[in-house]
Subunit: 222 residues, 2 copies
């Protein structure tokens, strides 16, 4: 168990969408943390000395003493919620929690895993995809993810100013991260008015703004 008097330490990377989710949650909860950058574009996650410390070779990872680091952003969001319950990023009722977790998983489990560097490497190095074909792939899956989310958000009486009622939850955190991918890569995406309004409200919040990739110390300047 991490020492509560010390900042939480993560292996992170400025551009990691999964680390973005954790940064937002940490900021919302006011939890001090420190990121140790691992350059995923340079493949540093596969370096033997890193793998020795972090056998899953995954980022983000929460360093936890001599035990193997804890990985997977959905698992880490739950961990933060358990250890730092205020303000909550899950609703108080079981159905609400299930809906929020499902929206979060639609991003983090259905959509984002198709967009990560290891998939890009496979498709462009072994799958015969050129840059345009990979861009079409990314556009397709981000679009599918957004359309699925919009269907849920637009059809449910549970949607409010944010994905679930009027309080920020882990659904908003994950959805905003996905929208940022669309923005950064200037993808041509379907209209999703309910979702776009929610994302706009999220990104206006300081906790989200401070988490943006371009504002991280290891991001390239300019």
């Amino acid at each position: 168990m991490t020492d509560a008097s010390q900042p939480l330490e993560f292996y992170g990377y400025w551009r990691s969408n999964a680390m973005y989710r954790l940064r937002v949650a940490l900021n919302l909860k006011g939890v001090p943390y420190r990121e140790i950058p691992v350059d995923l574009d340079a493949g540093e996650q596969h370096a033997p000395d890193f793998v020795a410390r972090n056998p899953m070779a995954a980022v983000p990872a929460l360093i936890d003493g001599d035990l193997p680091p804890l990985t997977q952003s959905l698992a880490l969001l739950e961990y933060l919620e358990e250890r730092y319950p205020e303000p909550p990023i899950l609703p108080a009722d079981a159905r609400g929690r299930a809906r929020v977790r499902a929206l979060a998983a639609t991003v983090a489990a259905d959509t984002h895993p198709l967009l990560v560097p290891r998939v890009r490497h496979y498709l462009t190095e072994r799958g015969g995809f050129d840059a345009d074909a990979f861009r079409a792939w990314v556009t397709h899956w981000v679009g599918q993810g957004l359309v699925g989310l919009e269907a849920n958000l637009a059809h449910s009486p549970e949607t409010g100013r944010f994905c679930h009622g009027d309080r920020i939850t882990m659904a908003d955190i994950c959805v905003s991260g996905l929208a940022l991918i669309g923005r950064v890569f200037k993808l041509d995406l379907p209209e999703t008015p309910v979702l776009s309004g929610i994302v706009q409200r999220c990104l206006a919040e300081e906790a989200f703004a401070r988490a943006e990739p371009s504002r991280q110390p290891d991001a390239p300047k300019g």
Copy 2:
């Protein structure tokens, strides 16, 4: 909220690995349930009358009265754990829960989303993959998933007879489902002795055996 006196009703499909996870959890907890089959191979999940009832067009989905069905297997495993806490499928401590959720997500969020029908359709219809190329894709990602899991399981003092200590958790449920994919498709996969031992112990349990795709009423005979 679903009525506790009635069996839980899911949109499911015999072959769905995500539905398999839920079946195991339901069996372990002794929760009565009913599956309404949606033929994913025939594209029934996209039929307008189905989408009208289930806007995310996703299976498995837990039907919940007039509210939109609840989707995403990880969210639904958490929901089952909250509503039917005995026997638990998460450890009692926060670090343990985070580790188990991370192992589960390594399957359900990192690996399985690359193997689902919609990805196969994209790669074979738009991506120029023939059957051999798609098989290589599946073999690669299942192998990567198993190797990552083995690294975690083999390096952690927290591993026991099962993924986390000596009790079955949602990690075992997800890991067994991934191993079944390797078995059903007779994939040529790397050796993962720690994981294989755990899977063998899981599959010997009645709750896992009854959940197997081939034993579902909507599975093809023989």
